[in-house]
Symmetry: C2
Subunit: 486 residues, 2 copies
Amino acid sequence: MIEQKRADPKRITPQSEDFDRWYVDTVLRAELADYTPVRGCMVIRPYGFALWENIQRALDDMFKRTGHENMYFPLLIPESYLAKEAQHVEGFAPEVAWVTRGGGKELEEPLAIRPTSETIICSLYTDWIHSWRDLPVKINQWVNVCRWEKRTRLFMRTTEFLWQEGHTFHETYDEAADEVETMLGTYRELHEDWLAMPVIPGRKTDSEKFAGADYTVSIEAMMKDGWALQAGTSHHLGQNFTRAYGIQFTDRGNELQHPYQTSWGLSTRVIGGLIMSHGDDAGLIMPPKVAPVQVVVVPIVRSNDAEGSALVEEAVARIEREVAGSVRLRVDRREGIRPGEKYAHWELRGVPLRIVVGAKDLAEERVTVVRRMDGLDQMLPLDGLAARLPQLLAETQAAMFARARNELEERSVHVTSLAELVAAFAERPVFASGPFCNRPECEVRIKEAVHALTVRNLRADRTADGAPCIACGDPADHVALTARAY
Amino acid sequence: MIEQKRADPKRITPQSEDFDRWYVDTVLRAELADYTPVRGCMVIRPYGFALWENIQRALDDMFKRTGHENMYFPLLIPESYLAKEAQHVEGFAPEVAWVTRGGGKELEEPLAIRPTSETIICSLYTDWIHSWRDLPVKINQWVNVCRWEKRTRLFMRTTEFLWQEGHTFHETYDEAADEVETMLGTYRELHEDWLAMPVIPGRKTDSEKFAGADYTVSIEAMMKDGWALQAGTSHHLGQNFTRAYGIQFTDRGNELQHPYQTSWGLSTRVIGGLIMSHGDDAGLIMPPKVAPVQVVVVPIVRSNDAEGSALVEEAVARIEREVAGSVRLRVDRREGIRPGEKYAHWELRGVPLRIVVGAKDLAEERVTVVRRMDGLDQMLPLDGLAARLPQLLAETQAAMFARARNELEERSVHVTSLAELVAAFAERPVFASGPFCNRPECEVRIKEAVHALTVRNLRADRTADGAPCIACGDPADHVALTARAY
């Protein structure tokens, strides 16, 4: 069972008091997700699932735009198929859930619930790839997977989770390498343009790469507590799996070859990252492009002012009519609930803009528009309001990204030695970058220098140009991003 | 393992020779799906999955329009939760796949892979439903489920399949009954308006209702071999599960009550029904509204006619440009493949319209448009062609529905006795309807009268008005639809 921290029904724990509790309080109270009686598994509630659907739609469109097609492969994988790629099975076997009985009988061979699908996909593509004309293969699936986790956390780490896994096969190593970069690029686009989360791309060290990969690249985002979140990974699998599974094609020179392969995935974990990138003590702050509700309208209706209330309702109806699907708008007409409570309700849920429609403002043909991210409020004329909302939302989206980027920059440091690295973490968790030779023993020394530190990736946007490795002092090619990580 | 009938690489078995083989040949050769090494599980290939996505999108929009929200519940259900509703567990237990090991250990309690999710959903809603203000709850999920099947068949019956399952909770029995009808209505709308499949709605007999339901309604469609396919079901669960799981709410009169519940589902089986409703000896025939490719353009390019070929390419580029996303159009520019092969390729895949662009026709500023459903071909001016395509597709959609409805009517008979029922099936399978008292013993007599006959449902669109039951002769209220069924 997930370690169940119940939400305090009265308040959200402030971030400064306990960031972990703030996170759990927010997820539960905003009704994004909840615990279940099933060990390590959560339920995604309508508001959380609507957010996931918006993220899915954006990413799926990018996949299709870049020439990928969706498929569906079986949930269950026979033990013998899982076992063919040695490093892969070694990496995943401890996390697998096994089906051993079905239809009232013990099975002859146990079936794994997929922890990922390289093995079953390779098994099938042996029949479908014969010639270079069959390449590239570029496919994706949106599915559930299971990985038995000891410590779980809503959205961040659950035994079952939802994700997409892309799988491609190519004629050459370089074409596969291009695909690896392209798909990391779509993840970056999703995070920066849709989720307002700046990310740092780079290559994982060998100790952190995907089990069975030649190499893995990732994007890393900073949460509000200064910790890192791996926000999407893309793997170059070389010919490791295609050799093991015997996939061969006749190349343009009429020679038999094993194709080169990639895989890349992004899961519901992205929702955890979104929450921890933007939220504050009042709850969620949703980036407008993926917000299930972009604008909430709160009518201020007074039982002792029938005439004013009628004007308010008329103005609200006009806004609804004029918006007509151009933004995702909800009117909160619930009775018996004070305006202040309604404000708090939608602030908790992170709705980007709130429009307050009251008789007093309407006398001047105006309404109040309040921005969730910073409480900025302005009086705007009712005339033309609906037409201005998309622009206000776009400004909010840009402002959220700019703020997150500033926070990332303010909390990033460059270090040239282990001593500087230790000093950088003395006050609070940061993103520390420094020259790194990429030797495993140096990675160990870095990780041991600061409690719970990890090398996140070798930054794609920086080079060390031979500056001395912070651990051993030898000339280094890479700049390692180090941080504490979820 | 699915009984693997491989497709003949050279031809599709004609329907008249062996309808079952025709079906399998078509699914495999059109690359909708294929077998896998996993017992009873199939892989849905890109063309089949694109079709499923179109169906999903249409149905999901209908669900949202009728006030439903999507969620996600866990895949795994503890044995003790599954067991709480007695009839339900009795119905499903023989089909369940059990996870007994996870994370390297034997589990203390086995976990079922969901065969359907009433049990886990009820477990969770005990925490979320307290007052009549919390009702109705109207939710849905798009997920995979497993039911261990002895005999499997691509799309029609597989151990794992994809579906949507809707679940709702209501204050009153009647409100739940209205929901049951509304959702059967959405399934009917999907079939008739999107899939061009006429259906017959009605209530299942008690022997065929969902395990744990008060009653089940279904829509039944006729396949081209005269067999019936249950094409969507909607269940009134009464208080059966809410009592068993202890869900209670305070009603408007301040009394504690168990809510009334419904569930309804539609699976990837719908694709099997679509294929068998419309296909012919050349392969699939796709209804335009859900066709992954609605229009295919085949340029006729000759290596010995550079000038003509340039004109052809220019005309094709113009069609592509002018269509600009208004229809799903594909240009088949593959080299080294004769036009006739291309025609057969896209006929097999059921693309509703083919546009042939050749230099000879272009000399008269025209192209040839051929309709897949009946081979109807017409010469149309290139000018304004793109703008006419949506209309041509709409006409095709309507013509496919009209043809299917005619076939259903021609192959339907009314019977007034068991002797007439037997006679009706003497030549070929039909849909036979007749007065029925709805007694279990009469249902048995009907089913025994003709080999493999079943009572599909008690038709919602007919009443018997006291005419004598075809089995016992007593005055009957219902008209039973009887047929052989998949």
